[in-house]
C-alpha cells in the first residue's frame, strides 16, 4: 500500500481497512524509455563479471515511477482517491527500448 499525492495504491482487491464505495474503471500509465550508449558501455563491462546493472536498475525504476505517476494522474482526473489491484508490466518494444506500464482500477474508498 502506497500513498501518492493523496491517492492510495494497492495491489490487493481492496484497500485493507477501508471500504470501496464507488468504482470508476481501469486507469493506465505508460512510458517508453531508451537506454543510452554510456550506460550500455558500463553494462557491457559488467556483463563480463556479472552482478547488478545499477544504471539499468535506476533507469527502469525511474521509468516505472513515471508510469505510476501517469496512472495516478488518470485516477485523479476521474475523481478517484485510490487505485486498487495495481499491476506492473515491463516489455521490450524495440532494440534498446522498453515500455513500463502500470494499471489498476480507480475507486473511491472510505
Amino acid at each position: 500500500m502506497q500513498n501518492r499525492g493523496g491517492i492510495i495504491l494497492s495491489n490487493t482487491e481492496t484497500v485493507p481497512g477501508k471500504r470501496i464505495v464507488e468504482f470508476y474503471g481501469v486507469v493506465t500509465g505508460n512510458t517508453v524509455r531508451a537506454k543510452h550508449l554510456g550506460r550500455d558501455i558500463m553494462a557491457g563491462l559488467k556483463n563480463i563479471v556479472g552482478g547488478e546493472l545499477v544504471g539499468y536498475t535506476e533507469l527502469l525504476q525511474e521509468s516505472r515511477n513515471e508510469a505510476t505517476d501517469r496512472m495516478v494522474e488518470q485516477a485523479r482526473s476521474m475523481g478517484a482517491n485510490a487505485v486498487v489491484n495495481v499491476r506492473f508490466a515491463t516489455s521490450s518494444i524495440a532494440q534498446g527500448a522498453a515500455e513500463l506500464f502500470a494499471y489498476g482500477t480507480g475507486v473511491r474508498v472510505e
Binding site: 471500504r19 470501496i20 464505495v21 464507488e22 468504482f23 470508476y24 474503471g25 486507469v27 493506465t28 500509465g29 505508460n30 550508449l37 550500455d40 501517469r70 494522474e73 488518470q74 485516477a75 482526473s77 476521474m78 475523481g79 532494440q95 534498446g96 480507480g106
Partner: protein, 270 residues
C-alpha cells in the same frame, strides 16, 4: 459499492511534444555531438602522431612494403626513372628524416600514395597518363608534402578512430546514418586542408629544383578534362578539393610567391 461511469482525462499517457520537433532536436543535437566526438578523435590522433617521431616510424615500418594493400610490380622499366626524379626533388628538403623508396603498383586509376616508413607508391595508370617530368615531379613533391606534415600517419590513425566510432554508433539505425555523414564531412574538411598544404610544399620543391613551376598543374588539368564535371553536392563531398579549385589555388600560390609559370619542361622518354 457501486459503478460510476467516468473516463480519465485524455492525453495523460501521451507526451504532447510534436514529433517533428523531437525529430529536429535529435538530428541537430546528434550532429553536434558526433561532430564534437570526431573533432576530439582527430585531435587525439594528431597528438599521437606528433608523439611518434619519424625515426620511430622508420624503425617500426623498416622493411615493410605495402604489398598487402596494392599489387606491386617490380619489373616496370619506368621505376628507375621515377626514382631518379624523386631523388632530385628530395634535395629541396635537406633535413628530411626519411629514407624514401619508390614503388610502382598495378592500377589503371592514376594515383600516388604516401605510405608509412617513407614509401611512395605510384600507379601504372599515373605513369601512363603523365606528360612530362615536371608533371611527375609535382605529383611526387606533393606526396613528400604529406610526409613532411605526417599526413600518412594521420590517415591511418583516423581510419582506426573512425572504425571505433562506427562500431560504437552501429546500434541506432537512423543515428548511425547521421554519424557516418557527420564523420565523413568532418574528415573530408581536414583532408582537403591537408591536400592544400601538401600542394604548397610540393610547389616549393618543384620551384627549388627547376627554377620555375611550369607544368605543375598540367597533370590535374589533364585529369579534369577526362573526368565528368561534378555537381555542387559532389564537390562539397569529395575528399580532394574539386580539381578546378585546386588548380586555381596552386596557380594563385605560385603567383603570390612570384614564381615563373613558364619555363623549359623536360619530356619523359619512356
Amino acid at each position: 459499492m457501486r459503478y460510476v461511469p467516468r473516463s480519465p482525462r485524455e492525453g495523460i499517457n501521451v507526451s504532447d511534444e510534436h514529433p517533428l520537433k523531437e525529430a529536429a532536436v535529435l538530428v541537430v543535437g546528434l550532429s553536434f555531438l558526433f561532430a564534437i566526438v570526431m573533432l576530439s578523435l582527430v585531435f587525439i590522433v594528431d597528438l599521437v602522431v606528433v608523439a611518434v617521431s619519424p625515426e620511430t616510424e622508420a624503425r617500426i615500418f623498416s622493411g615493410w612494403t605495402p604489398g598487402g594493400i596494392v599489387e606491386l610490380v617490380d619489373d616496370d622499366s619506368r621505376q628507375r626513372a621515377v626514382a631518379g626524379v624523386l631523388q632530385r626533388i628530395e634535395t629541396g628538403w635537406p633535413d628530411s628524416p626519411y629514407d624514401f623508396r619508390l614503388l610502382v603498383a598495378d592500377d589503371d586509376e592514376p594515383n600516388a600514395l604516401a605510405v608509412p616508413g617513407g614509401v611512395i607508391v605510384v600507379t601504372t595508370g599515373l605513369l601512363d597518363k603523365v606528360g612530362s617530368e615536371n608533371e611527375l615531379a609535382f605529383v611526387l613533391a606533393h606526396e613528400l608534402g604529406h610526409f613532411r606534415n605526417r599526413d600518412h600517419l594521420r590517415g591511418i590513425g583516423r581510419g582506426v578512430a573512425l572504425a571505433i566510432f562506427y562500431a560504437a554508433i552501429s546500434g541506432g539505425s537512423g543515428g548511425a546514418d547521421i554519424g557516418i555523414a557527420v564523420a565523413d564531412l568532418t574528415l573530408r574538411q581536414f583532408s582537403r586542408d591537408q591536400e592544400a598544404a601538401a600542394d604548397r610544399f610540393g610547389l616549393e620543391l618543384v620551384q627549388a629544383e627547376y627554377g620555375h613551376v611550369a607544368d605543375s598543374w598540367r597533370f590535374f588539368e589533364r585529369l579534369r578534362d577526362t573526368e565528368a564535371q561534378p555537381g555542387i553536392m559532389a564537390a562539397y563531398l569529395s575528399t580532394h578539393p574539386d580539381t578546378g579549385d585546386r588548380i586555381e589555388d596552386i596557380r594563385r600560390y605560385a603567383r603570390d610567391s612570384g614564381w615563373s609559370t613558364v619555363g623549359r619542361t623536360t619530356p619523359l622518354d619512356w
